[in-house]
Amino acid sequence: MTVDEMRQQPWVGRRIPRQEDNRLVTGTGRFADDVTPQGALHCAILRSPHPHARIVRVDVARARSMPGVVAAVSGAEAREHWAPLPPNFALPGIVAPRVYGLAVDKVVYEGEPVAAVAATDRYLAEDALEAIEVEYEVLEPVMDVDEGAVDWYGDGSPASPASPRLYDEWDDNVQVRYDFAYGDVERSFGEADAVVEARVAVHRYAAVPLEPRAVVAEYDPDGRTLTVRVATQVPHQMRTTYARIFGLPETSVRVLTGDVGGGYGSKGQADGDVVPILLSILTGRPVKWAETREEWMLAGPVGSRGYVHHAELALRSDGTVLALRDRLLADVGCDGVVRAIGLAALIVGATYIPGPYRIDAYDVRVRGLVTNKPAYGAYRGYGKDIANQLIERLMDKAAAALGMDPLELRRRNLLTEFPHEICTGPIIESGSFVECLDLVQEKMDLPALRREQERARANGRFLGVGVVSTMEPSAGAIPMSVFSGFESATVRLHPDGTVTALTGLQPIGQGVQTSYAQVVADCVGVSPADVRVRWGDTDAVPYGLGAYASRGATFGVAAAHQAATEVGRKLLLAASVALEVTPDDLELGGGTVRAKGSPGTAMDVADVAQRTYFQPGPYAMLPGEKEPVLEASAVYTNPEVNWLPDEHGRLRIYPTHGSGAMGCLVEVDVETGGVDVRKVWYVHDSGRLINPGIVENQLIGSSVQAFGGTMFEQIVYDDAGTLLTRTLGDYQLPNAASVPDIEVSHIETPSPITPLGTKGLGEGGHIGIGAVLLSAVEDALRPFGAEVLETPLTPPRILQLIDRARESRARESRAQTAGAVRDDV
């Protein structure tokens, strides 16, 4: 290819270096905590040492007189100055507690904020916390949900009869109840040749972004305006939320974000972040809060996962799945709606448990119970992992029960025709599930792995192989919530030929700046280097919804594309006037507009722009155009989203769906219980790729996170409700030495329902890894006959699984011998 031809190639689809990286590698990025306004105060928050207690008295008087302290406030005092935290969604079946940024009369988790100070430096602020006196009346904490005592059928038996209630105004401790049924489940189970059952349980682990929460609040008492720089995924919703909490018009509130140090779902709500804002309002000075890691572990949106399925799958002897039944129970910490946003993940999970398989009879019930733990946050996967974990384990179990090859069983049931409406309502618009499975099998060289496994077993070593299918619903649009379903963009081609693209989406590591520049560049014929993407200033960019639910490549990109396409259209129109060639005979690229087939007839984009603005100007260059400037704004909504319940009560909140398959190889040390994850293969199809390098990082990154979550990350409380995992050392994030190589392969089946054929992505690895690791470890332990249905796969658990399997074998063989003896008699 000549340089010139290279320049004509579309930018979409190319692996170009990221624009954001130069500042990030040189330490010149701007994260919220990097900014300290003149005269800023530092906020420190006093937190409850008890998981469940009534607040009898808080006295901040002594703190107020400490050196450097400008303000100190208790929850009771703060109450006059703000409204309760608003619920982030209001779906039927969900209840929301009424809580404030600082607890007023009761605390429901260890680490709940009860008072705060603002001082001239951080050290003095922490000194002052020690001078605050709080008297608590300690209550018995609820630290677990009792699987045996759940009211599944609404017959009135309380959810957990013995446990005290967290919220006095609630009838019980159930925060979400969700039931759904479709098809004749009873009959299908009656007709089945085989029924397999499983209890699949996943422990609590969390997003733990490396950048903790950070807020810089600046209230201007004269103008009654509030500027908040904050590490968030959703700047516009934060503006709306802050305005509500502090009784300010939205026009007076400006939210700024710069670089955000990872979110993964965890930075999507206002919780403790409102405390420094209050202190800024009370003092009229800028107030900064950069939380410590311990604060995040204690009081961030730390809940996530912490669920158990009790499920049954009915099949015909040929492997056809007939029906599925599940009871999904989750420990949602103190709240998953107001202080955090994880609760709806359970409903998403229930919606997608049938996954990429044809299942026409399905019955699911979901209960989320509150406990005295921190809030239930959103975390990458957001329920799709909950779904995959169950259906894939059931598939393996069913294959074993029917004596079928587990991949064959999957192929028999995978969706192959699209679009396909699954029984819970979503339409799988396109896909390549079987192709992904075939390709992963090929990449792994499964027969060779099986031979290696044989040889290893002969030497007393235990290798295991797992393979699963994955479905990655993306671009969630949740009704009655701040996670609504549109995105906005403005694209402006300047007179000098450079382009500004404003997006409501928020970069959090997913390469928005570069990939959006690629999309826009193609539409207006320039290079991505000429496109400057701007975000995260609610005064500068149109109202958009930010980063959640892998919506960027669906909503964000489509809005930018729509606006840029319109600019491109006007650009061609103007060029057609200048070049006297009809627009249809013109093409854009490499910074020029050319007549097709006659490269001599061409103009620089900058030239056209200059003429359109000024020389001679819009009346001559774009006569008759309603908006004769090279700028356009767009709002994108996806036609497949449906918020009107159909006759089965079904909605469609995720419009796009990626396909995938994952394989892995593990080795288990059956003496220590250690598991070495040696390699992961991931075949992924999320439609057309904008920048393969960025996509691969998302796929690998999400896999690495769920690898950590499944293997060793854990949040643990003792019986009294005290957090035991308070540092990253206790928690264990995956590191360079433990993380396996992940080999990614792509299939590109365009989505028919997005303008570029793209689909959202970014959670895929997190969806499949849990199930594939469980499957592989179970395979490694097959000589012992151990079932692996529970996380984390820590060494002690592995040994316990082996022990249990040995015991039950021993019991069986004793029973057999006993039986044999009886037979003899």
């Binding site: 995956p734 590191n735 433990s738 060494p795």
Partner: protein, 289 residues
Amino acid sequence: MRPASFEYVRPPSTAEACRALADGGTALAGGQSLLPLLKLRAVRPALVVDLNRITELQGIGNGEATELAIGAMTRHQHVADDPVVASAVPLLAEAARRTGDMQVRARGTIGGNVCFADPRANMSTALVALGAVAVVERTAGSRQVPVAEMFSDTRVSALRPGELLTRLHVPLGAGADRGVYLEFAPQPNGVPIVNVAVVPGDGELAGPRIAVGGLLRTTCRATQVEKAVRLEGATSAAIRRGIEGLLADHEGYADPRGDTAYRARLASVLIGRGLERAARGPRTTEREV
């Protein structure tokens, strides 16, 4: 997570450091364990005595052929890289090499590792198996304490107020050059769940010397295991019996990474592997145990 106020001194000599400690100061060595506690305000010294300018506390010497003297302020990385350590007591180099990470090794010191008295400390376990002796000084004089007796409880050392650990004397010979250090951690960094060090016996009569970390509330010499192995041979049954003996006499350690029962199993496995490696010959430095 910011320390409470304290006074700070940076004495240039052991003698002055001892005086400052006698005034109620708290020693600051590499800070890799003390700083987190200061930040949590779990430790609130009035006076911090920074040992980092005392050159006499740094470095490794073997003036005497029978022992190696390691200054308390010698960094983990230095121990890991030192050629004399590598040939005379390779297990100590391995223990150092596997302590935390590059940054922690650049600051953390062997003395701090012992004084912090964490039951899972790498250097402590290696030093106990090697039969090392700590030299402890105070304004009024000095005493020598076997490292195995340096620990009173989890994170409580046997140092008395005002005492400074200045040197560690590691005896050479007696199989020290054939010793093995093994550990098992949730991931290859940070603190192990259990670690063991095995120094094979020298000659027919002397059995191996074995130390275990992460099993009991302190790092310990596994004398019961040594005895069982001497009498019955290095069978897994003998090792397990020895471990049970240890646990019968002492309280076990437990945390969310493993209860005492798991630690006992892990210790048995690692000791078995350690004995096997030590018997097989020196210089096995496999990453995975």
